[in-house]
């Protein structure tokens, strides 16, 4: 390996690492606030990328149907709860929010030809189609069992993941997609060629991380989420609704997931099931941070990206084996750090 290859691999590793870092942050956030280990995070990555690809190909993305279906189910569930509680005034709002908004989106999509729109608008449209799925899934799959044990929530997560994989295959088919790069610029620094796409991914990730930091430090909703993460009961006594915190953290996680998918899709071909492995690499990062520390999780995720990149050079067949076996020494290290047996 000469310096040029090393730099190239480093660049690759850093790009993927930045994406994994975003995902790791979202995973830590969701776990801290809701105790949900958010295995389906990866599906948002795939859905984001594939929805954008469908829009660019001039097809109506399948996510539209999922959005409509989930909206209808939520309208039925929430509506019947409202009727049972005799809160008839809430009914129009429930229907408007859960059915009206998705219908509006579909209408807008049908009215314009998305393929001809400028790229930023396409990205925005894709996000609008995918991100609402996050809170909707929280409402239907997690909120009814929000007080269950971490173990039950984890099994729910795996069930949601499996369902979304199947639905992804149904909507997007088995073929992969790759979106055109956001930029063709490349810089020559010494011997090495720095891809504009790489810079974009890293910059976007850093911007997003900084934005998250300010969200948590400066806004009332951010503080509410932090409060819930620290002490659920205490936060509730202060008037912070647990379901609101759940919906909010799932919205954030879905945004981060879909956005990561959009960032990564010009670099890698994304299939309906690619998201899972990408998300799991974010998980390895999150576990390095003990599912608790944001900076360590982000650093761990970058490490995963670099490890993956260099191991693909040395032993490409065993790339995944090496990356996922990394979790064993990490767990061992965390386990030796743990003081005594933890109580669930």
């Amino acid at each position: 390996m000469d310096l040029q290859i090393a730099l190239l691999l480093g660049q690759d590793g850093l790009t993927n690492g930045a994406i994994y870092a975003l995902l790791a942050l979202a995973l830590v956030l969701v776990f801290a606030v809701t105790r949900v280990i958010f295995i389906p995070q990866g599906e948002f990555v795939a859905y984001g990328a594939l929805t954008l690809a469908s829009l660019q190909a001039g097809r109506l993305p399948g996510t539209v149907w999922l959005l409509l279906a989930l909206g209808a189910v939520i309208a039925v569930v929430d509506g019947s709860l409202a009727i049972r509680a005799r809160q008839f005034k809430r009914l129009p709002w429930i229907v408007l929010l859960s059915c009206g908004v998705p219908l509006l989106l579909v209408g807008a999509l049908l009215a314009v030809s998305a393929a001809t729109l400028p790229l930023p608008v396409q990205v925005l449209l894709a996000l609008m189609l995918v991100v609402p799925l996050g809170p909707m899934i929280y409402r239907l799959a997690y909120q009814p069992v929000a007080e269950a044990s971490v173990l039950v929530l984890l099994i729910v997560s795996v069930a949601v993941h499996v369902t979304l994989i199947g639905i992804g295959l149904l909507f997007f088919g088995a073929e992969g997609s790759r979106t055109p790069p956001f930029t063709d610029v490349s810089l020559e620094i010494g011997d090495a060629l720095l891809q504009g796409q790489t810079i974009l991914v890293v910059v976007a990730s850093v911007v997003l991380i900084v934005a998250l930091y300010f969200f948590f430090e400066r806004t009332i909703y951010g503080k509410a989420l932090r409060a819930t993460a620290m002490n659920r009961t205490g936060a509730r006594l202060m008037g912070i609704s647990g379901s609101l915190a759940g919906l909010l953290s799932f919205t954030l996680a879905a945004s981060i997931g879909a956005f990561s998918g959009i960032l990564i899709s010009p670099i890698t071909t994304i299939y309906y099931d690619s998201g899972f492995v990408i998300g799991l690499k974010g998980f390895v990062g999150a576990i390095i941070g003990g599912l608790a520390s944001y900076p360590v999780a982000a650093a761990g995720a970058v490490l995963v990206g670099l490890l993956e990149s260099y191991s693909s050079f040395w032993a490409s067949a065993f790339k995944e084996v090496i990356v996922f076996t990394l979790i064993i020494p990490v767990l061992l290290w965390r386990s030796l750090k743990a003081r005594h047996v933890e109580e669930e």
Binding site: L151, V162, T163, L291, F324, I328, S335, A338, H340
Partner: protein
Amino acid sequence: MKDSTRAAAYLLPFVAALAVAPLLLPEFYVTLLNYIGLYAIVALGLVMLTGVGGLTSFGQAAFVGLGAYTSAYLTTVHGLSPWLTLPAGLLVTAVVAVSLGLVTLRLSGHFLPLGTIAWGISLYYLFGNLEVLGGHTGISGIPPLQILDREIKSGREFFYLIWAVLLVVVLGTRNLLDSREGRAIRALRGGSLMAEAMGVDTPRAKIVIFTVAALYASVSGWLYAHLQRFVNPTPFSLTQGIEYLFMAVVGGVAHVWGAIVGAGLITILKQWLQDWLPIVLGQSGNFEVIVFGLLMIFVLHRARDGVWPIVTRLFPPPARRRSAPTSVAETESPPRLPLARRPRPESGSLLLEVTRASKRFGGLVANDNVSFTVRAGEVMALIGPNGAGKSTMFNGISGVDPLTSGGVSFRGQRVESLPARDIARLGMSRTFQHVRLLTGMSVIENVAIGAHLRGEKGFLAAACRADRAEEARLFDEAAWQIERCGLAEQMHDAAGSLPLGKQRLVEIARALAADPCLLLLDEPAAGLRYLEKQALADLLRRLRAEGIGILLVEHDMDFVMGLADRVLVMEFGRQLATGLPAEIQRNPAVVEAYLGGVE
């Protein structure tokens, strides 16, 4: 025993049906049943792990793969007999499972399943990329199993082998769960604090069930390899690992028979969906996972016990109440089959000496330089306003939450840095302020957990029922302690169905079943009625007369003052006063702490 006759009433027809099934059914159904059997063996491991132990794994398919590949490799490359590769596969699996368990078990419960996901993926890629294992094409030409001179080649013959193995594993697991070690495993779900305080080595229990579940998977893999006589990585992927968990959860994750029901349902449903969904949806692909995923979410929302409870409702057991394993003595006399008792320290000798004990939680000093002693045959009461640090002191002494500094010596031995289970072994037993019972288990089973350290039969003995004599003695002891605590009537009720005051008495009975020299009681009288309090005081007096030392935290002053030999008053973590009850009642500082100062 009523229990076994009842089980036999259903088991015999079931076995008979299995015996004739391959003779009557067409080949297709025999094959289907073979797979159901293979899957059920794996799912059974998950029932024990998830439903009983409160842990879980998504990587069971990888363990199946270890069993299958070990046998495939050794029989084809080295020409070993399949009967030798079975133990080899088990050994490989056990080594991997124990290491994985050791790495994760000190962390909270969710790190193990996350670890199994990562491990399931990396093993799958390893199978697919190792040249010696045939890469993605796999290994073919695996020899058939041979019994004497007969080769078991047909699916019909294999059927008997698979289902015989499954039945042995089911019955073994059921026996195991109904034993001393089984109760320790079931105690894991109630949180490790209580189990540790009763002397259960919880990390060991977790590793053991994780390993046993992995071994079941490995046996299934070995059978699979010699049934198919061909292996490739596909059936050992994470997706299959998740499907095994679905089987266990849908069938009923808390019941051994749930594994068979779940494996059957999922396998048949999958077959059916794979036929129909591509037609309905107009595309080919694994769309059954959508249905499985939604089904799982539904089960977890609405019927967390799965399908098995519905089956038992259709076929109600002839005898409703669980039979007591032993006859219960009518009078309050020691059990007829006595367990060995530990020698009691002489009355008046020093049992417990706490010196300058401190406990800090960050900036909060919950215990500040507290020193006191408890002697054999003495009731020492620890009183003080709420938040004085009494329960913290209890946790420090019993090793549940170790002290920050200071020393605890128990029967002449320093114990402040020992884990709770080792302190329990020395003869200290305790109750918890917030009752920690296993609400679904009967009172007598809960109390028997207290006697955990007084038995010694292990997992193997339990699985083949070689532990019955010891079990009878443990239950006799438990029954006796329950009677002493005045709960004979409720002995077979679910512990969670008792009012809180009685649940506290169950906690005392459980502590007594450990045959302690020192008893730590945290608010035992809270929630009891007047007569019940008197009965409790009588019991404690009798225990004192037997030479047991008692350390008591209690808010009911009449109860304390009427019973205690000495009293220690704490306030804001500090030691306010120590002395005889009468002295304490006159102590101005104590009066001020309780009633407020005079302005």
